[in-house]
Structure formats: C-alpha cells, structure tokens
Symmetry: C2
Subunit: 249 residues, 2 copies
C-alpha cells in the first residue's frame, strides 16, 4: 500500500552510487552550500577511496541532476537548488501520460487556487504592489501578444510567490515548462481579439481586488472563473476553427 513512499534505505552496491549518496546527503544536510567548490577530481577520488572514473560517474550524475556545476578547467561548484531540474523530471515522468498538456493545467489551477488563499493571509504590501504593477503592465502590453503572454505568466507567478509557500512556488515553477508548451500549442487556436483581451484584464483585476481585500473565498472563486472562461474560449475557438475548416472543404 505504501510502496510509493518507501525510502530507499538500501546501501547502493556500486561505488558510484555510494559516492552519489555521499554528496547528496551532504547537500541535503546543508553541509555543502551553494557556491562551494569541490576538491579536484584526483584528490576527491583519493579521499573517498575510489578511482577517478567512478568518482566522475557520481559527479556527472549530480551535475545532470542540476546539483553541481562542473566547468572545464575550473572545477566543480555546488549549484543553488533549481526548479528547472524538477521541471525536467516532471516532464520525463509525465511524458508517457496522455493529454499532459491539458492535464498540467489542472495542476496549475490546484497550485494557484491554494496559493491565492494563502496570499490573502500572508501577502505583504510589497507583494501586492508588485502584483498591481504587473496588472498595469498587462494593460500596457495588450497589443503585443508576446509581451502580453509573458506579463500574464508573471502576474500569476507573483500571486504564487505572494503565498509565501516555497513548496507551491517550486511546484509551480516545475510545471512552467509544460505550461509554456501547452500555451504555445494553443496559441494556434486562440486569437487576441479586443473583446477577449479586455475581458482578460478585467478578470485579472477582479482577482487582484479580492486578494487586496484579503478575501480567500472570493479570490479563489474569481480565479476559478478566470480559468473557466479561458477554457470556454479555447473550446469555442477550437469549434469555430473546425467549422471554418469544414467550410473551406
């Protein structure tokens, strides 16, 4: 029943595995901090009692996981925790799944709705100001789809950041790459007509107002509404696109 949760307490049988967990644990315990420089490969291999190839396998693995930054001629440095690795891992895990692009939207809604509830409780004045500023930027960048899309994302990200929850933030960043792919894939179907975009700004403003009033239920409600409308629009556009195709035939 709880297989999923089982921690691998098994001692890795292979040397590279041992070295890997050695460094991973130091990283977890904070004994190794971001920016620290590791010893040279030859010295490290000697110190850990393994050969250089074995050490390199472990180091390379840590680098691929984004935990290390190894640079030719300079050395290996501990990298700050980066959500991009998480994003890659998530992408890999979700790859075999069907409808990932649509499905990841559900995760987005989940994170944001909880984030805005927390934000209503914990957002600082600076957080609110930042979000308000992005709202202005959103209005300014209505005519530029590229910039507008970026601002849109930044607005939502700012809300998650205002939640003060590192976990929500990291997960949100992790699904961002997939979110972007979904966004790009969908851009073919969506058209930024004035009626749509003005409604978009208004929806964002409503969400922000509820947040500024520190009203969690209302904020979540409006956010869900915003997502639902976006979903409806996409559906309609899709339908009209098919209809157009039908007429062309």
């Amino acid at each position: 029943m709880l297989d999923i949760v089982r921690q691998d307490n098994e001692e890795p049988s292979t040397g590279a595995g041992r070295v890997f967990t050695f460094f991973r644990d130091r990283l977890l315990s904070g004994e190794l901090k971001a920016g620290d420089r590791l010893l040279g490969e030859r010295e490290l291999a000697l110190a850990l009692g393994v050969s250089r190839p074995v050490l390199r396998e472990a180091l390379r693995s840590l680098a691929m996981l984004g935990l290390l930054d190894i640079r030719h001629g300079r050395g290996a440095y501990v990298r700050s925790a980066d959500a991009s690795v998480l994003g890659q891992a998530l992408t890999l895990c979700l790859a075999p799944e069907p409808n990932i692009l649509d499905d990841v939207l559900q995760a987005r809604i989940a994170i944001e709705c909880q984030a805005i509830r927390l934000a209503c409780l914990r957002a600082s004045e600076r957080d609110l100001q930042a979000i308000a500023a992005l709202l202005d930027t959103l209005v300014d960048s209505l005519d530029d789809p590229e910039r507008g899309g970026g601002t849109d994302y930044a607005f939502h990200l700012a809300i998650v950041r205002a939640s003060g929850s590192g976990a929500l933030m990291k997960i949100y960043e992790a699904i961002s790459p997939l979110l972007m792919r979904s966004h790009v894939e969908r851009r073919r179907d969506t058209f930024r007509e004035p009626a749509i975009t003005s409604g978009l700004v208004d929806a964002h403003r409503q969400v922000f107002l509820a947040l500024a009033e520190r009203n969690p239920d209302e904020a979540e409600r409006r956010l869900r509404e915003h997502f639902a409308i976006g979903d409806g629009l996409r559906r309609n556009n899709l339908i009209s696109t098919y209809q157009r195709q039908g007429m062309d035939t």
Copy 2:
C-alpha cells in the same frame, strides 16, 4: 522574467552530456519504451563514437535519474516513469527552504482540493467503490495507529487517483515522501484518542458523501474543513505538550 522557463537548447559541450541528451530525447519521444533493453556498454560506446567511461557517465546519470535500471551481469533496461525520482528532486529542491514539512502540507491541500473537484466530475463507479472500501478499512483500523495512518493516506490517494489527472497524481506522489516525514515528525505530538479518531472517520465520511453526490463545492469545503481541523488539533496538542513540559520543569 521568463528565465525559469527557458529550455536549455544549448548543445552539451561534453561527450557524456551529448549521450545523455541523446537517450533522454529517445525516452521523451517514446522511441525507447519501458522494459526495453539497451545494447551492451562496449557496443553502445562503439555505436555512439565515445569511449566506454564516457558512455558509462551518461548511463549512470540516467540511472540516478531513475530512467534506467542497470543491473550487474544483466544489462541496462529502460525503467517506467517513476514518481520517486520526482520526490527525490523535490526533496532536494526544497531542502534549503525553511518549514518545508509544514509547507508541503499546503501543496497537499492544493492538489487534493483540485483533485476532489475533478473527481466529482470524472470519478467512475469503481473509483467510488474503492474509496468507500477504504472508508470501511479506516473504521476497522482505528485501534492500530500504524495501519490507520496507512489507510488514511490510501484514502486520500484514492481521491487523487479518482480525479483522473496524471499530473495531479504524480505531483501528489512526489510530495508523499515529505508528507510522510511531516507525518512521522508530528506523530510525537498527536495522540489517537477515541474522540479524535471518531471525528476523523466522520470527516472522511463527509468528504466521501459529497464526492458521491458529485458536489464539487461541498466536497472541497468539507475537505478543507478536515484539513483545518487537523491543523487545529496539531496546534492544540503542541500547546498542551509545551504546557506539560512547562509543568514538568
């Protein structure tokens, strides 16, 4: 602004990096499926034009990421996508964060609330039956804290599964290890008194009933209530513990 989302399109300068992305892309495109067996290291090295150590660095990295299952004397096999890697990555990413254990609960609430909404729309009869069965098991295992905890987790997991969202499911599995740590750490403070446990069962039943009635708003409301009560209990227990400590002093 969108740095986070930037995909690394840069060609890896190192040989191991090239081999790594080579296999990663095959994995992503589905060209390599779970269960497939890779060629031997010597043949692969020859085929890809790199030396065996370099190839091994790449393979080992893929194995550390959980994408490959390399077994001594047998060979390297493609592993099915596994959320445990995600969990590890998440743990690593969140390690430097303060209050992770509490914070990850926020992520849990986020996922579950959205999941139960979806479940109200998409849960099959089998899903509902499975959840109902777990509810019964929960009642049966009231006196066994260990088994009760497991059933509790299984109940919530079943709800997420009933949402039919792979993304939510994977993320939920990913935070499970941290959730467990949080649970264990807290078990010192919580006591399974009859009054508490009976209330617990009732809360679960209420959630299930709303789900069975396919009422998203009510289901989410009851779920949030359930979490809030648990939170309150923890707080009270913590306080009483401190008070006891104060009396002991």
